[in-house]
Symmetry: C2
Subunit: 158 residues, 2 copies
């Protein structure tokens, strides 16, 4: 066996391994965009009861959702990009109606219909998917489409 | 003590309890909007290596990210709303540059810089936050701002 064969094999394998990154295993942050952060705080913190973990007036408010952080931004500010050379966060920002779905048990869904209705938030849709999981849809005050759904919609046995 | 006091207390407590829903404990779905779904599949499935779990041509492609589902939609289609009376998903859809961050270890971040660079995807920013966690930023082909970050950015000890 020609030893150069081994050399060629090693050369062929190295770039292949470098390309095989492990796929992302988990989400760390997701974002929605809102035009009025004070209104958003009243909604996400007050009505939904999420735990606020960071806040910069007129720019953003962040909430913890289990192992994920929900970022709410005023896109007018985040589209400017960062002026901090040590933390050069790239510009971003969207307009329109984004979408998020929170996980909820059947009993929690029932309680949320009552809670949202009491708070004057209309339930825009309420139905069961073909696999039996129930979803309810409503909107934040910026028009983003929010949902509570049973996790078995996607994950059998959960 | 007048027994009617107990009655009044009970009446006062019941509506209060109905208002106190448990805050959402976890995210189930998040969404980004893209103008070209075939291009998005090549990026999210091909380059990032995410596991595809659903696909409707010209409307959406969904990926699993641990216990969360990442929904990629063409907003031109989702803004139309549903024509299925049994599954009346409300209209939604955004334009501009959304944002998501994937969780990655220090070693995975290192591998992703190589993998993205090899794939011709520029690293737009690469820095350490004040608490030491590293983030890298890049964009999908629709312009959404994507990030890999060490989870200790938000969750100490992780």
């Amino acid at each position: 066996m020609d030893p150069r064969d081994d050399t060629r094999s090693a050369r062929a394998i190295i770039p292949l391994m470098a390309q095989q990154s492990t796929p992302p295993a988990a989400l760390l942050e997701t974002a929605l965009y809102v035009s009025d952060l004070a209104e958003a705080e009243a909604f996400y913190g007050g009505i939904l009861g999420l735990e606020q973990i960071a806040r910069v007036p007129d720019r953003h408010v962040f909430y913890r959702l289990g192992e994920v952080v929900l970022l709410l931004f005023d896109p007018a500010r985040t589209l400017e990009g960062s002026s901090n050379l040590d933390l050069p966060v790239p510009p971003h920002g969207a307009t329109g109606q984004g979408h998020l779905c929170f996980s909820a048990t059947a009993a929690e869904l029932h309680a949320w219909v009552d809670r949202l209705t009491e708070a004057g938030i209309p339930i825009e849709a309420d139905f069961h998917w073909p696999n039996g999981a129930r979803s309810i849809y409503f909107r934040d005050l910026a028009g983003n489409s929010l949902e509570f759904a049973e996790p078995r919609l996607w994950f059998e046995g959960s």
